[in-house]
């Protein structure tokens, strides 16, 4: 027997299953990053000295990364909108752009990490570097997860467009919600770690 409400929303909740599922998942993600941000606050308040982010970190590179990630959120929305307008060709274009931008972000992040390691700044160097590597590393893993999901939706997963276009559009929407969340986490990380 088919499971109901995989495609059309349930009338009384107004949601299809996956959309409720991803919102719940994102709520748990908020708690995950919320706990880490709280730890950051507690450690910083308790520390005798705490460096300013710009003393150790590369603000121009991070600014570029912020722009890259926000742009990728825009292309993610465009890919979903293209599907809603039944244009699979433009969907591929925008989804490809989203993945490419995410990879650009990871490459720039990689350069930043390498520069830190060159100066001997490992996570063990100070509590500041420890929280920097932990938060950005965990965020980076979330980006990698998003790239994997989006690549699946661009490649083999897109076969569903032929069999069940409405459900495929839903999948892209759900992946998009996750992607915007990952973007949003960076919007918090950037000022907290680099600017404050």
């Amino acid at each position: 027997m088919e499971i109901p409400y995989t495609v059309e929303p349930r009338p009384d909740t107004g949601l299809y299953n996956a959309k409720l599922g991803i919102w719940l998942f994102l709520a748990s993600e908020v708690m995950l990053f919320g706990a880490l941000f709280s730890s950051y606050v507690l450690l910083r308040v308790g520390a005798t000295t705490w460096p300013h982010g710009y003393e150790h970190l590369n603000i121009p590179l991070a600014t570029v990364n912020t722009v890259v990630l926000i742009t990728s959120s825009v292309t993610m929305v465009m890919s979903w909108a293209s599907l809603a307008m039944k244009n699979i060709r433009r969907y591929r274009l925008y989804m490809g752009a989203t993945i490419a931008l995410a990879c650009v972000f990871l490459v720039i992040k990689g350069f930043e990490y390498a520069a830190k390691f060159e100066h001997g700044l490992y996570p063990s160097a100070s509590t500041f570097m420890a929280i920097y590597f932990t938060l950005t590393g965990l965020h980076g893993l979330h980006i990698v997860g998003g790239v994997i999901v989006n690549s699946y939706l661009l490649g083999p997963g897109s076969r569903m467009w032929k069999t069940d276009p409405a459900r495929f559009t839903n999948r892209v929407e759900v992946a998009g919600l996750y992607w915007h969340f990952v973007d949003l986490v960076w919007i918090f990380l950037f000022p907290v770690l680099y600017l404050l």
Binding site: M1, E2, I3, P4, Y5, R10, T13, L15, Y16, N17, A18, L20, G21, L24, F25, A27, S28, E29, M31, L32, F33, G34, A35, L36, S39, L42, L43, G46, A47, T48, Y122, P123, S124, A125, S126, T127, A130, I131, F133, T134, L138
Partner: protein
Amino acid sequence: MSEAAPGAHGVVHTDQHAPQGFWRTYVFSQDHKTIGIQYAITALLFLLFGFTLMMIMRWQLAYPGQAIPFIGKLFGDSRAPEGIMLPEFYNQLGAMHGTIMVFLGVVPLAVGAFGNYVMPLQIGAPDMAFPKLNMMSYWIYFVGGVTMLSSFLMPGGAAASGWTSYAPLSVIATVGQTVWLFGMICLITSSLLGSVNFITTIFQLRAKGLSFMRLPFFVWAQLVTSFLLLLAFPPLEAAGVLQLMDRLAGTSFFMPSGLVVSGQALANTGGGNPLLWQHLFWFLAHPEVYVLILPAMGIVAEIIANNTRKPLWGYRSMVYATIFLGFMSFVVWAHHMFLTGMGTVISSFFQATTMIISIPSIIILTALFLSLWGGSIRFTTPMLFALAFLPMFGIGGLTGLPLGLAPADIHLHDTYYVIGHFHYVVAPGTLFALFAGLYYWFPKVTGRKMNDTLGKIHFWLSFAFINGVFMPMFIQGLAGVSRRLYDGGAMYSHAQGVMHLNVFMSVCAWCLGLAQIPFIVNFFWSIRKGKKVSDNYWDATTLDWAATTSPPMAHGNFSPLPEVYRGPYEYSVPGNGRDFLPQNTQAEVH
């Protein structure tokens, strides 16, 4: 649709499916019933294993420094040379007993097994909302469990810093702690996926007509439990990641400056905060207490309504109390930390919230007690366990109040009183409710009922011995015996007056182990030879009993999906021929 349903017992027949292969049917199944059974079997094995660890520890507590008889030599020289348990091994057993019982035994049984099997049936759903995710939850849990077990084989043995893994002790511990952290991250991930699935299923897949106030209380309990798991576990995951960084990358999140261990200064940078771990840990672990108890309350509510042949007393207030309990459980965590020096202002706040959270628990317990009033009670085996749950959980809850008051906690903190308190909540409380659930839903799963004589032997022996184990702990705790002593307090003069209780408790614990034999025998015997019973053996009203007995191991529980016309507990409605009206009975009573 209207004509589709209810035969004599409100039975809706089950969808038949083409058979799938062995692996897809029994191992990598996506069917919620099979996954529920997988959870149940795995969790029961872990419960037995965790209990065995404790039975070994109880030897050391009763007869400190004497060789463990029969099996002592099997542990090897690194754990128990000449059969005499080393303190390091004792610590490993203690830490792993707690971890296994909570994270691998009780929660997977209460939520993974009962939630998975019963909840979709009770809401009239064809399956969980995300069957693949459900399968993944189970297998990640399984991997986490195997990881935990493997830690016993690591150099230096398993994690030994208590189930709470307080820093900085846990950070400088041997490699078993790293394995513990990886295991925990698996278990947390599994719980998160499961809770997303449970909540979505309850919101989205309720049968037509099944409004929220018509949900069986068990479903409400599972819903609130899932929210707790969803929102409380991520901070522990964060804490686990931070502790892994401390252990593997040499950071100092939980390591204070200038820490000296065994006369040697540690080489970390310092600047961290050991209290941070405690905050993050208890932010999960207090809601976790309600994760342990709420599904148990749900099971007990179902069984009491069914066996008193009466509606639950105060169903609505029970539901509201449960929701309130869920909210409050997020703001009481630091009552575990009154003695950490976090300050009296913070202590006062958490003391107040702790007193407030006892109110909804008492509302639920009172409603369950009052449900017995004037009922013609059927003393079936599940009902005996459910009835025993009420005073046992009552003792557990009431003894918790002095711990929630900061001044009283100064004396009682970290003593055997604490052990007695939370074991009364979880062992004769939750575990009894889980046994009640096993006896109650066994006919639904297998089509046969468990033997009542063996069931009653199991009940009375367990009931007697489990009180023999935990009641003396209050006495020892009040005398000031600390909970983590390798010799049970033998080296302290203030403990001498209550030392003799150790032998009594240990004997009771071993007898409790023997008392489980009737259950194990009954379980396997009844699967093959138990008395065959009808679809709705207990004459129950909820939708799980509207599905056929032993629904096939494939998607689809009902054909067609049932429709709901009434509340969950319409027992003994006047003017009706039978003393129960299943939720999917359409006919109005005149």
